[in-house]
Symmetry: C2
Subunit: 137 residues, 2 copies
């Protein structure tokens, strides 16, 4: 099972909460908010534990925060990054119809020329529109 592997790789004890959260994120494939995750985990798991689990995953570089149009905090699995080496030049796409946010890892953010004196460390591009699933309806 992939979730177990990921936890072991990061030296994290494999607890039921961590396994469930991870499996949900692997299964869904798009960015999830805390409340969306909470809906899907076993109801015996505490809301607080989910928060702490997400924070742990963030610290370990297993997931990353996703920009949403201001308001909700969403999380998605990182692709190639670990605690030290993050490459978050992400393009995120949020569908205004179904509300899903997905990572478009294959798309690069074009280089931007900043005004003098500005240094770029991280770029996040959020595109909003209609996704392939919804436009097919």
């Amino acid at each position: 099972m992939e979730a177990l592997h990921l936890l072991k790789d990061l030296n994290l004890k494999s607890t039921s909460c961590r396994k469930e959260v991870l499996m949900i994120m692997l299964a869904k494939g798009h960015a999830l908010s805390h409340s969306e995750i909470e809906k899907d985990v076993n109801p015996s798991i505490d809301r607080v534990t989910v928060y702490r689990t997400l924070k742990t995953f963030l610290d370990k570089g297993l997931i990353h925060k996703v920009l949403d149009d201001a308001g909700v905090t969403k999380y998605a699995l990182c692709q190639g990054c670990r605690t030290d080496d993050h490459h978050h030049e992400h393009v995120h796409f949020k569908c205004s119809n179904c509300g899903q946010t997905i990572c478009l890892d294959e798309i690069d953010i074009p280089p931007i020329t900043l005004p003098a004196g500005f240094t770029s460390a991280e770029k996040n591009l959020l595109i909003q529109g209609v996704c392939d699933t919804c436009s097919a309806l």
Copy 2:
């Protein structure tokens, strides 16, 4: 006074809260969160009124929400857009040192080729790094 003009243009009654919020945003020149605004207005003005004022300004297209690295909602004055005609192809820059977020209106977001089936309606690019003021220190 510029604030009074803006309010009159939008058929909004010029109340002390609206004038103050607008003047603060004009003076600061960068994106502000609700709490930052609240700190600067006359303490007799209620927190709730500031929320409602921001919502009113949003509806009228006077200000727009700014993406922050997930968490805080910030607002900034719109440049050329009104209720109907919004052009929000914004580039926002957040300084990781001083925390300020500014709009780089003069920079265009390069065209992005989306996968088949995806339609783009709005693009937001958030760049994080060090701003000109901080890099000069």
